[in-house]
């Protein structure tokens, strides 16, 4: 297929015209620029921008693309990385996604991103294109995507709008991911009324590559050709980057073009295959996916990361809608497109691969030695900029922040709810509650088998995929966040989110190695929200340093608020761990009769911010205390246990505490257990209710074969880590029998646990 050149005459605003008409008024405010920002553009250019330049600066300087409010804080992720932490880092923050060395010449790249606002407007397409976007980030690093995950947050489960969002978003994630052949190996589903008008749709993708296959987004080598390939460019999401993702909702805002992007997963699947073929044949020098800000972003980033400049003829772009203006073409967020830099010798090879996969492409221009990004329209110059000023030198704000005055009151308001009279009923209520109930209704809509490498997926603590079929080398990933903890204490909340994801990965048996994060917050223009943000980043960066796992990349989503009310600060943290052989992964349940059940860690009365308090309608006090040294030891024990075959099942304790942990372990394989709490209560000075519902950190429950008990205990003692035998697996009795308190048949527990989502959405 050859590129057909489209040439249309618009009344275009050329650079010459801009110079000749300095007084011309431009719609910078409508495009989301502030007055000072517009002035800065004029200063940079030494003249007024052309319409096309204005379009580029406005999308690239939007919050979504420039991180202008968050940048000053995010620096800590780099500043607090030690040399030891860099050991496994092949590509760090700043590229499309970080790349981590997992040994044997293999590397993985992973990243989580938000698609919150688009998913509220059009749930199916918003979620679908969220998956599409993050997968293209992974491809652009040179990797084959191998799995996806989807941390989701919705409003109250019984709110009239929630079903619309749940149905659309879940179907969209599945519809896109399933069609790409990417197993979905985990995620989260949380319901809380704070997310009513601002559901959070975060999508994570992970890819696999050989070290030598790493590709970076830069355009180097004067004379090299620049090509756009994949779907045609349409009017999709014009203004989406600046309006949809960076401003609060205002439905009255007129929109000339659809701000909604429609995904074509088949086109993306073909794009994946053809990119992998390009990489294999070493045909591209640099590559960049097109996401937010479309061609504006791709050209300016490629050019500014390279060693020269770039020259582009914009009428060469293949269009779906011939009425698009140059500025609109530059801003369009049409999905399933990529841009690449190809040496002249490789042009033929490139075209052959495109033809084989029937992918459309058009040569837009070439890399130059001028240092300028020049874009022409039918030979007339419409953009002449230093690409760095577009891509990297956007405004940076030190937004004012202040600790909310209300926080003292909230933190002083500890949970004082009375104890339930019936612990059995309380456990049933907990396990049927929206946040603790089974997520099968969601995850059954996702393909977890495709590619044949999934070693663990829902409902286990981490998703595990094999990377190397010969050796069993593989990775584990978990994503976690607790918005309530972060609301009570954003610094600790971020650290707790990291600790939970880290613990989940270790519980599955993998060695935690690296971090990605998606920071979902309200408006940065609100000093209290900005304080929550600053505290979160500080907490996360500190905790990463203490645990020795670097942040490799991530995403910030601001303006998640409706009216004056922001969501809870919600830092979604993804931790990636590595397995030398996934065959040793630990499932989150017990199975063998007579195995001993141990609780690792200690339990204190920590119910503030807990699921139990949430069920009683209370949110106050301080989140559970965090001891990262203890988390590290616990992780080491769990990884060792897996390595040495000392345990057959393990589950970390987090939301819902021991009650949730024991219930989930019993439900995992439908096998009962006899549990005794007395010794634990005595040792930790707590009552049975606290033992069951407290959310103390650094804890896990494990199932130990009889033959391993001595070795297991010795190891815990050697590491000076508290452990206590709390029961035994019982395959005869189909129940969770907490002796002296209640006997809960598994069938009944299952009915409560699995009935909730179908009841609301089935």
């Amino acid at each position: 297929m050859t590129a057909e050149t489209t040439s249309r005459k618009f009344n275009i605003d050329t650079v010459a015209n801009a110079e000749a008409t300095p007084g011309q008024a431009l719609p910078w405010a409508e495009l989301g620029l502030k007055e000072n920002e517009y002035q800065r553009v004029e200063e940079i250019l030494g003249r007024r921008p052309t319409g096309a330049e204005l379009a580029m600066y406005s999308v690239m300087w939007s919050e979504h693309c420039s991180y202008k409010s968050s940048k000053v804080h995010l620096r800590q992720f780099g500043d607090k990385v030690t040399d030891a932490m860099k050991e496994h880092l092949l590509v760090g923050i700043g590229e499309n996604a970080g790349v981590v060395d997992i040994g044997d010449g293999w590397a993985v790249t992973f990243k989580v991103e938000s698609h919150n606002h688009p998913s509220f407007v059009e749930p199916y397409q918003g979620a679908a294109t969220g998956v599409g976007g993050i997968v293209r980030d992974i491809i652009s690093m040179g990797a084959r995507p191998v799995a996806v995950m989807d941390p989701l947050r919705f409003g109250a489960i019984d709110h009239p709008d929630t079903a619309r969002l749940v149905h659309g978003i879940v179907a969209g994630i599945g519809g896109y991911g399933n069609s790409l052949g990417l197993p979905n190996i985990g995620g989260e589903v949380v319901f809380d009324s704070v997310y009513q008008g601002n559901p959070l749709v975060n999508a994570l993708a992970v890819g696999v590559l050989r070290h030598e296959d790493i590709r970076l987004a830069n355009a180097s080598g004067a004379g090299n050709r620049v090509v756009l390939f994949g779907a045609r460019t349409g009017g999709d999401g014009i203004g989406g980057a600046s309006v949809l993702a960076s401003e609060s909702f205002d439905s009255s805002k007129p929109s000339k073009r659809p701000a909604v992007q429609v995904g074509d997963p088949f086109a993306e699947k073909v794009l994946i295959e053809c990119c992998l073929e390009l990489f294999k044949a070493s045909v591209v020098e640099g590559i960049q996916d097109l996401g937010a800000a479309g061609i504006s972003c791709a050209t300016s980033e490629l050019a500014s990361n390279g060693d020269g400049g770039m020259h582009v003829e914009l009428t060469n772009v293949l269009l779906r809608d011939p009425s698009l203006t140059p500025g609109e073409i530059l801003m369009s967020e049409s999905q399933e497109r990529m841009m690449a830099v190809v040496t002249p010798e490789n042009v033929g090879a490139f075209e052959a691969i495109m033809d084989r996969w029937a992918v459309e492409y058009s040569w837009l221009g070439e890399v130059t030695g001028t240092g300028r990004l020049i874009i022409e329209w039918d030979g007339e110059k419409i953009v002449d900029v230093d690409p760095r000023t577009v891509a990297h030198e956007g405004p940076v704000y030190e937004r004012p922040y202040s600790r909310p005055a209300w926080l003292d009151g909230v933190q002083a308001d500890a949970f004082a709810g009375g104890q339930p009279t019936d612990l059995r009923e309380a456990v049933l209520e907990l396990m049927a509650s929206p946040n603790m109930c089974s997520k099968d209704w969601v995850t059954d809509q996702y393909d977890r088998y495709v590619q044949g490498n999934t070693a663990l997926a829902m409902p286990d603590d981490a998703g595990v995929v094999r990377v190397d079929e010969e050796t069993g080398l593989g990775v584990a990933i978990s994503t976690d966040a607790n918005g309530r903890y972060s609301y009570l204490n954003p610094y600790e909340g971020a650290r707790l989110a990291l600790a939970e994801a880290y613990r989940n990965v270790a519980t599955s048996g993998a060695e935690p190695l690296a971090v990605t994060d998606c920071l979902n917050f309200g408006s940065p223009e609100d000093p209290e929200v900005m304080w929550q943000f600053a505290e979160t980043v500080r907490g996360l960066a500190d905790a990463c340093q203490e645990l020795g796992v670097p942040v490799t990349g991530g995403n910030v989503s601001l303006y998640n608020q409706t009216g004056g009310v922001a969501i809870h600060p919600t830092p979604v943290v993804g931790v990636l761990g590595v397995f030398d052989d996934v065959a040793r992964r630990t499932p989150s349940g017990w199975r063998e009769d007579g195995q001993a059940i141990y609780l690792l860690g200690t339990t204190a009365a920590e119910l503030d911010g807990s699921e139990w308090a949430n069920l009683r309608g209370h949110l106050g006090g301080q989140p559970p205390a965090l001891d990262l040294a203890a988390e590290k030891t616990l992780a080491a024990i769990l990884v060792n246990c897996s390595r040495d075959g000392m345990i057959d099942g393990a589950h970390d304790l987090s939301e819902g505490g021991l009650a949730a942990g024991l219930s989930e372990m019993a439900l995992r394989f439908g096998v009962g257990a006899r549990i005794g709490l007395d010794e634990l209560c005595e040792r930790d000075g707590i009552d049975a209710f606290t033992a069951l519902f407290s959310e103390s950190q650094a804890r896990a429950v494990v199932a130990v074969p009889r033959s391993e008990e001595v070795r297991f205990n010795d190891m815990c003692t050697a590491r000076n880590f508290p452990t206590i035998r709390i029961g035994v697996v019982d395959t005869e009795n189909q129940a969770l029998d907490v002796q002296g308190y209640f006997n809960l048949p598994i069938a009944q527990l299952r009915e409560a646990h699995e009935g909730t989502l179908p009841k609301h959405f089935g």
Partner: protein, 86 residues
């Protein structure tokens, strides 16, 4: 029983992957006379009784709220059809 037909098409400016896939397949089976294809939906609502103005209004309401997604689709027709007619 009388029927009301509701036609729903993807908005012209919105990508229609289904139509695109069909447009790509037509030449492969030798049909080259077409410049483009859009795929939409056609609903037939059977009316139990007479088609009153109120029922037609109900159909219009259903068309814009339930049968179409106004963000990406247009309702292009809501009309009573004759038995076996179009």
């Amino acid at each position: 029983m009388p029927r009301i037909v509701v036609d729903v098409m993807p908005k012209p400016e919105i990508l229609d992957p289904q139509g695109k896939a069909i447009a790509g397949a037509l030449p492969r089976i030798g049909l080259t006379g077409f410049a483009g294809v859009r795929q939409g939906k056609r609903f037939e609502l059977t009316v139990d009784g007479e088609v009153t103005a109120e029922v037609l209004e109900q159909a219009r309401h259903a068309a814009t709220t339930l049968l179409s997604n106004p963000v990406i689709e247009d309702v292009t027709r809501v009309e009573v059809i004759e038995e076996d007619g179009q």
